[in-house]
Amino acid sequence: MEEMTLLQEIFDGLLGLGLLWLAWRSLACTDMFKAIVLFIAFGLLMALAWLRLEAPDVALAEAAIGAGVTGALLLSALAGLTSTGASRHEVEQPEGVEKQTGTLHRLPILLLMLTAALLGYAVLSLPSHDPGLSAEVAENLASSGVSNPVTAVLLNFRGYDTMLEMAVLLMALLGVWSLACVESQRDSSADPILDMLTRLLVPLLILVAAYLLWVGAHAPGGAFQAGSVLGAAGVLLILAGWRLPSRLTGWPLRLVVLSGPAAFVAIALITILIGGRLLEYPTEHAGTLILIIETMATLSIGVTLAALFLGSSPEHEEKQ
């Protein structure tokens, strides 16, 4: 048993060092492509750290969104950047400038070490035993309609956070669409291997998304994890050269994007009308209502993430 804990301590130490080292390399190396790849590796190590901290829900979200979708977005932006002529490598500052500001150069480092010391002290001065709100969550879990405590917090106890988060996702998409005149993904003829792989992977990803959505009620999983897996399927389809048929890019696409926030707002309004409180579900219907919201949210998150990756609004794409 003692050997086991020693091994775990060594693992924790190495993982911590690995995270810091990857972050530092990703921020310090001059080649942007390398920096992004290191950042994706950093995201995967973060997923391991979440597992060590007994947060499998966060680990799933990190692996799918933090490492997967963010990495795809960064790489596609880098490709856009090189095509507009900006350098892939960071411009090195001329030596003269460096020397001139030599003394000033030290100041940020000193301030930063002070910040690190203060933050470290603040973290270490917190009480070492504090169960937080876990007792309250466990007490009310029976009335939440689901048995996974994280899903209960996300969609019942703090449902309005999640509702506003759906709005943030929608706002980001609106922002991206309104900047649509930037040259978007070039249509490359799909590589046959990628095409084959996509045909195999997309149905599997849809199945995994459905499983994660369903299992989220009582085990790690849920709308965000399922939505991001669906988004990843969308990204694959876009990379393989597939586009929505033009009759679907107008209202139908916008309806799917809106379905998540709209279902949330509709159920919020109904709960206000019935019980007078925002998102306070009647206990006997809580499970069903959460499943409805989660299904709509999964679809809408998946489509929104894929649309964020595509960049320009679909109609604009048609005109090009």
């Binding site: 301590e9 810091l20 310090a28 060590r52 977005l73 900006a86 876990s134 917090v153 996702l169 900047l179």
Partner: protein, 102 residues
């Protein structure tokens, strides 16, 4: 030192590394990477501190907050990257203008 505080301190370290890069690098893509790493540090502190009491299961409230945070971070990143492409399209350079250097 127990593992909770080890991970929390790694989180502090990531936040500071990110903050340093955010201030010192001019390239906008690097700033976006730095911002994501700062966010990762904050998430690590939150989730580590949720596990302080060994006897009971970790506090699910910070977990839910971090999941929300990850999704908000990816939306903000997508918008920031689009804005960066717009800047580089206008100026041919993925950096914000700096009066001192001109």
């Amino acid at each position: 030192m127990n593992m909770v505080f080890l991970y929390a301190l790694v989180g502090v370290g990531l936040f500071c590394l990110g903050l340093h890069a955010l201030i010192m690098h001019a390239h906008l893509l690097r700033k976006i990477l730095a911002f994501n790493i700062m966010g990762g540090g904050v998430f690590l502190v939150l989730v580590a501190l949720a596990k302080r009491t060994e006897e009971v299961a970790p506090d699910p409230v910070p977990h839910a907050m971090v999941i929300t945070g990850i999704v908000v971070a990816v939306s903000a990143t997508a918008l920031a990257l689009k804005l960066m492409l717009k800047v580089s399209e206008e100026t041919g350079n993925a950096e914000l203008p700096d009066e001192r250097r001109e």
